[in-house]
Amino acid sequence: MSDGCDRCGEQASVGGKPAGTGTVAALHIALLGNPNTGKTTLFNRLCGLRHKTSNFPGTTQDARIGTVRGDDAGGELHVIDLPGIYSLEIEQNESEVCRRVLAGTLAAKGEQAGEPDAVCVVVDATNLARNLLLVGEVLARRLPTVVALNMIDLARRGGFLVEPAELERQLGCKVVECCARSGEGIDQLISAMSRAVVPSRTPPGSREGLEAWTDEVYALCVGHRHPPASAGGEREGGQAIDPAAVASAARARARFGLLTDRLDRVFTHPLLGMVAFLIVMSALLYVVFQIATYPMDWISAIFDGSEDWVAAWQPGWVQELLGGGLTGFVEHLMPEGILRDLLAQGVVSGIGATVIFVPQIALMFFLISLLEDTGYLARAAFLMDRVLGPFGLPGHSFVPLLSSHACALPGIMATRVIPDRRQRLLTILVAPFMTCSARLPVYVLVTMLLFRDRPGLAAAAFIGCYALGVLAGLGSALLLGSTLLRGRPRPMILELPTYKLPSIRTACVTTWDRSIVFLKNAGTNILAISIVLWWLGTYPKVDPPPAATQLRMMAAEMREGRLADSNIHDSARGTPSTASQAAPFADRESRAAELEAKADHLELSNAKARSFAGRMGRFLQPVFAPLGYDWQLTVGVVTSFAAREVFVSTMAVIVTGREDAEEEGILEEIGAAKREDGSPVFTTATCWSLLVYYVLAMQCLPTLAVTAREAGGLKWAMLQLLWMSAVAYLAALLVYQGLRLAGVS
């Protein structure tokens, strides 16, 4: 490749893109291939973490674009990982995306449209015959092409004798044997991609002609034309063969085939398969929810502070600085004021609210990726098709619905694997019914109030919440599938990949990708919502209540020694102070500090109640009164519309005046909250009503946004919001009124 022609000054090019003077321009390589050919593994091997995930505008297909350093003579290669497809010519979203990218009419977000400089078709060496169809279609497009003959290690182990030289001759383009898992042949592949040329042969254009051509090429290049082994075991091409080794490999293949048959029969059996599925899924959920609590606790400690955690190994000055976590650090560093509050309570809190979910999501996707790599998930999809089919959902839905138990956001994005649009829409609409991690703090609060000292019943209620969510989701799918989204379910067709040991590397890269996407999507949104909620909960500023002022006066008098302990009354409640009933305080200063802390709590609680958010709650309270909620609960429910996880912290501030919902004893204090008429806020009927409401309600703006994007329009997000809100309201109403009628207050 030269920089310029001496005669006409025209610049030479590869694939139509001119080279820069003195430098080699980056080449754009499209990576294409059938599903289950190791294309993703190859992409990860080529680019590692040097990639970004984008999407193709106007579609719901992910686009991964990575960079790989070319060989010594070449520059960088920009590799775009296209969706796995069986053919460019079938009517599927993925095929259309690939067609348009190869034609140069579609590019990933942020990339320039244009034909790729070269195409690398990844082919499974153990399934060459089927893969040749796609190779033929790509060759017909007359773009510089390279074929990566992947999984060559498995082919050799299986005794397949693929002749790359003959394959090159037949295809008219470079063929490189490689193994993405081990890295064999990767350098040669990179070199070949840098030097890709337009193929010298063109396959037939018709479908039948192309299929006959693939048969012919396969027969010439794999096994068929090999002459019988001579005495010396030589055959054409000079590659020595050992008949005993070939026979041994054939026997091993037969044994593996038999094992595969048996495993398939077990994993797709209606009874045995279900048992296996329940064991696998229970183990997965146990690992996710049990093991993820450790990093979640660390994250919570980092953001909100934990004296035990920090005190365990830090010197005193660090404890003082970091004992309150990042929130405390900001409060320590910045002078008191509005911006400090915004930073500590809005920004840091908002970031923490997103980051805390990452361990669960990451672990969920790591394990799902491992399961997928083993080949089990494809079999489980057929099993689930039997279970979900009566509700109008396809077997493919179970991974998105499972993922939604960690967070609905990545669960909804995972619906991209569902080929039928109607079934995909159904899954998206019902995914948020699955109990996600953000609901758990509410469940913990309410079950604790309902079943104090009865952990068995509390656990049963917890499980009941999960089951209610699943049932509501399935019921909604059935109803929507027979009304608004009526249509015949498409029967499942799925390739069943070979059983194999999963690749940890692939799982790690996939997990990284999904976590980054979650942080980008949810992180910015939840942060923005946190800031808005903070502002609405902070303003307008109100005068402190008289009780708080009185407490401060008492504190001042206590410090000056003008006030005895026995004269202190709990002004806010009109009852004798508990302090005067307890052992007498020796330290006037600590007693004064306690009085001031109570005054702070009263002021904060009052400020929250009379803020814009609190006023909204009071205004909407009549709507929620039939559900048994007073204005305090209504504020909590209304503010958690934007993000569920703020309910407990909002209740903590309104009821107790304290912002740290993790503080010891705070749940009990919330549980002891009183209405304006003196009756308890959290009655039994109210608790059940609240629990049912939170199981079923749509209270997550980021999920709504992703629904709108993935479903292709805001109307679907609005439908989801209205439907879930209606179901939640009616169910909570029935529960509350039903319990009241039954005499349960």
């Binding site: 949104n525 923005a528 800031i531 502002w535 946004a705």
Partner: protein
């Protein structure tokens, strides 16, 4: 009840909150708010075609 309008920090925090609200609305309405979308081509304004300030006689066929 009051807003601390004399505190510069209030204004900074309010601007940040407005930007955050804008982000939230953009998240929900990526193509713009429905009420604020302009119709393609607009309503248009009726006017009379003139040439050299004289109205055009549409009965005369053009070449």
């Amino acid at each position: 009840m009051s807003l601390p309008i004399h505190d510069w920090q209030f204004w900074v925090a309010t601007v940040i909150a407005i930007l955050a609200l804008r982000h939230v609305l953009k998240m929900l309405f990526p193509s713009g708010l429905p009420l604020m979308k302009k119709r393609a081509g607009g309503k248009g304004t009726r006017t009379t075609l003139t040439v050299d300030r004289k109205p055009v006689d549409r009965s005369i066929p053009t070449k």
